[in-house]
Point group: C2
Chain length 278, copies 2
Amino acid sequence: MSRRTPPLSAYFKKRQALVNRALERVLPKADAYPNVIHEAMRYGVLGEGKRVRPILALAACEAVGGALEEALPAGCAIELVHAYSLVHDDLPAMDDDDFRRGRPSCHKQFGEAIGILAGDALFTLSFQVISRQRSHPARWLQINQELAQAAGTFGMIGGQVADLQGPEAAAKTSTLEYILEHKTGALIAAAVRMGALAGGATPKQLAKLTRYGECVGLVFQLVDDLLDRDGVVKVWGELVTRQRAENLTAQAKAALASFGSKAQPLRDIADFLNSREH
Amino acid sequence: MSRRTPPLSAYFKKRQALVNRALERVLPKADAYPNVIHEAMRYGVLGEGKRVRPILALAACEAVGGALEEALPAGCAIELVHAYSLVHDDLPAMDDDDFRRGRPSCHKQFGEAIGILAGDALFTLSFQVISRQRSHPARWLQINQELAQAAGTFGMIGGQVADLQGPEAAAKTSTLEYILEHKTGALIAAAVRMGALAGGATPKQLAKLTRYGECVGLVFQLVDDLLDRDGVVKVWGELVTRQRAENLTAQAKAALASFGSKAQPLRDIADFLNSREH
């Protein structure tokens, strides 16, 4: 039940800056024709954003002994997918949100047609970033698959569809648990796996980090539900939900036991995600 | 100027059936949870559809000596991207089309939110299909890149954005030519390249087939404009547009000179695309 101060704000800031520079490089320039789509893409990605997913990918890469830079394309790709999902989620036919991170949402700023296409374009770019990597083709093809699976109808899109199915379905515990596991969890677990694969993880390392990723993915959504007093909190209550987040955080860290000090950032991130207050 | 009867209807029908069976296999079953998204995906892809892009991919694969089956995943992937682009194009904020191929468009049938997500899901699936291929990872990673590039803002999406820029921009010859080259041409040229790569094309073969693909991609859009009395026809006139389509078809076939009888289907398809009447 404790709400600790995040212990790694300096680490996070440094990694955020690194990711932001990498995103800046992979995004087409705003003055490239047709300008408006590139402006909208940059608007949807740059600016605020915790960069949790890419930071997890970088830390997973380092945990298996890889160099930070090896996971940067995977980190950018997963952040582009996250940004695309937010741009499409905000559309009038979906959540109909006029604001995102304190400013007009992408479709409010650029119109609905460009909103749809900017989301599509960010998603496309994520696969371009991955397929530009040529040094370990089998590895990057697997990373490509991880991303596509996690973003698809048995991952993120499946969670979004379940979330759209009206109040009757949403009151069912089974629907809420499905959303919990799929809507955000799938992409967060994929971020960890993609980073580990980029760093050349062995199958054993990958299995342990998968467990870690699944646990922190659930914690992320549980804490979202706690902060919004929504989702599973409505059926489990605040106390049980908080307890489950604590347990899952402990399980996530337990999965890292054999990694030693190289996995310390992953442990700290797990604590941070469990204790975050926004 | 001649309008020949398509000489290859039996060939087309056989290939269409092959592609349709492959698409049926790669699409999730309609009763997989959450059902509605899988129903919408199948609705957006199965049924009518000329399957021009996959048929081009298969023929390009055979032209370089590959086996038909080697290009089927690439053919499916490109048709899924084509279907996603139609589903999103029909949305109210885009072309606002209530009908597609004689029945309600995807968002009219399933609602706008599912229409957006079904397009997203079809696009995601195309990358899943590609990354499942494990026998030649470098080759499939390049195929992945071809697809993502052709679908992106310097390809198909760029063409769509240019097409949205209102009557003033659309009256400019430069805009019309940009749309001509990007909106449909990029994906058709990519279909040819992806099929050739799947069949193990040499760089020399790939260069020639790229020329072929670019030419037939332009022909496809020119004939669209001729049939709709729209696009470049409005600035070039019908006669000049028809003449350009004829010239490009001749150039496409000339690029195949060194391929012999293995490229006969590609020559016939070029004639078919030039003479099609719908």
